[in-house]
């Protein structure tokens, strides 16, 4: 049995971006790095050691899975031969974290709105 998604929260910023990057589908390490950079508007630039440290932890936790990188658009000379996909529990953790962040933002907006009025 997997632990509840809430037990993985809160996620660190790089972890959140990595999971988010994998939400649409399978990606190899380089594609994840680039996507995280894009998603964060260049604010989060992961080093290879940080990326693979996080991927290793996420694999241990079962939030992602490691699969062969065999899709045509992902394969090519010099590209990593392994790719990563979000597991079912990983997707639920990502959704739970999104909900958590959303409620944080909502309550902050509410309070700040009160102060302005």
């Amino acid at each position: 049995m997997q632990a509840k998604p809430s037990s993985y929260l809160p996620l660190t910023e790089p972890t959140f971006y990595i999971l988010l990057s994998l939400a649409p589908g399978k990606k190899h390490g380089y594609a994840i790095l680039k996507d995280v950079e894009t998603l964060s508007n260049g604010k989060v630039r992961l080093s290879t050691s940080t990326l693979y440290g996080a991927l290793g932890r996420l694999l241990d936790q079962g939030l992602i899975e490691r699969v062969p990188n065999d899709e045509e658009e992902n394969t090519g000379p010099g590209l990593p031969r392994k790719a990563y996909i979000l597991s079912e529990i990983g997707r639920r953790v990502l959704e739970a974290e999104t909900d958590r962040l959303q409620s944080l933002v909502a309550v902050a907006h509410l309070r700040l709105g009160e102060e302005h009025t």
Binding site: G29, Y30, L33, T48, S49, Y52, G78, P80, R81
Partner: protein, 373 residues
């Protein structure tokens, strides 16, 4: 520029050797591939981009190397200390043998006794110490699955000490500070529950058959609470929470004592034959448990082991008690039916106590409903 890119890539490859060997084998190639792509891309943007990339990598690498070494060490520790499944594969003969030793010792002891084979004193003590040694070994090994039945068998004397108002094997359980505490518990708790001599026989028989086992369940629940609260034991608690039949399997070990106690007042050596058969049934139950993949199969294996072994005990008690050659009618205080019925009561209590955690395991999980949602 091309030359500096090559030097950087070579440096990176050399630095990868700082990572643990297993990590390198797992991710080394990927790390190199990703870094090569990054460095080539940075080179196209200019020297400054390459320097920035190099700086980012050098800044993060020392911390990552330390983290990976620590993670590797933790993993190794888990494998050697807390993971049963890696030391003995589920259902492997080694795991089977380690768990079965407890039940096989009972079978061996009863068979030798039935055949009137007397072992030297040192060997007798040696066999007696085996469960204790296995218990200690299990603690050192990080509470593996095979170790659990030994907790059950160790729990029975504890439960006995709590419920017996006198001596156990010549040891006064009501002396000293512990004795005072036990006397207090007795007055505050058991005295309120215990039926009096004026109560009907059946009430006394039902209660008498269950007190020890109910307290054992209480001890098990208390132990689980301690395990849950104690941080180093947390992985074991999480395993229990994943599969509550493990706790039932632990309590199943107490069946060894239950079978022995069923024939406690029976002086005739013929009882050993029934104990032998009952212990083989317990072996079979535990074997099926260890080999089963599904929770319901595991629960059923334990239920089957308890039920069949107690059926043998009830039959044995009835036959031995009814036999005028073995038990002269003048010396009987009860009937063979009441003897068998007492064993049925014992069975009822054992099923209730051992199967309670297993029933928890069979309850629908909130996580599953979440998945369905």
């Amino acid at each position: 520029m091309k030359r500096s890119v090559q030097i950087l890539a070579q440096m990176y490859t050399r630095l990868l050797s700082l990572y643990p060997q297993q990590y390198r084998a797992e991710y080394g190639e990927e790390l190199q591939a990703v870094f090569s792509l990054l460095v080539n891309e940075a080179a196209q943007r200019g020297r400054f981009s390459v320097i920035r990339l190099g700086w980012r990598e050098m800044r993060d690498m020392p911390g990552a190397v330390i983290r990976e070494h620590r993670r590797e060490r933790r993993k190794r520790k888990m494998e050697t200390r807390t993971s049963i499944l890696s030391t003995f594969e589920p259902g492997s003969w080694r795991e089977w043998l380690a768990a079965m030793t407890l039940f096989l010792l009972l079978a061996l002891g009863s068979l030798l006794s039935y055949l009137h084979i007397t072992l030297p004193l040192w060997l007798n003590w040696g066999l007696f110490l085996v469960p204790l040694l296995m218990f200690a070994l299990g603690l050192i090994k990080g509470l593996p699955r095979w170790f659990l039945p030994y907790t059950g068998v160790i729990g029975v004397p504890l439960s006995w000490a709590l419920t017996t108002r006198g001596t156990i094997m010549g040891i006064n359980t009501r002396g000293g500070v512990v004795g005072s505490l036990l006397r207090w518990t007795d007055r505050q708790f058991f005295a309120l529950l215990r039926p009096s001599a004026s109560d009907p026989w059946i009430v006394r028989a039902v209660y008498g058959a269950g007190e020890l086992w109910l307290v054992l369940l209480g001890i098990a629940a208390f132990t689980v609470l301690i395990v849950a609260a104690c941080r180093p034991l947390r992985p074991f608690y999480l395993r229990l929470r994943d599969d509550w039949t493990l706790l039932s399997f632990g309590l199943y070990g107490a069946m060894v004592m239950a079978v022995l106690m069923a024939f406690d007042d029976y002086p005739h050596p013929h009882k050993q034959l029934y104990i032998f058969v009952a212990s083989l049934i317990l072996v079979a139950g535990a074997w099926v448990y260890l080999r089963s993949a599904h929770l319901w199969q595991r629960a059923l294996a334990l239920f089957g082991g308890i039920t069949l072994s107690m059926a043998v005990a009830a039959t044995g008690r009835a036959i031995l008690y009814a036999n005028p050659l073995l038990w002269p009618p003048a010396a009987r205080g009860y009937t063979w039916q009441s003897e068998a019925l007492c064993t049925v009561f014992l069975w009822g209590w054992l099923v209730a106590v051992v199967m309670t955690p297993a029933l928890l395991a069979l309850l629908p999980r909130p996580d599953k409903s979440l998945q369905a949602g």
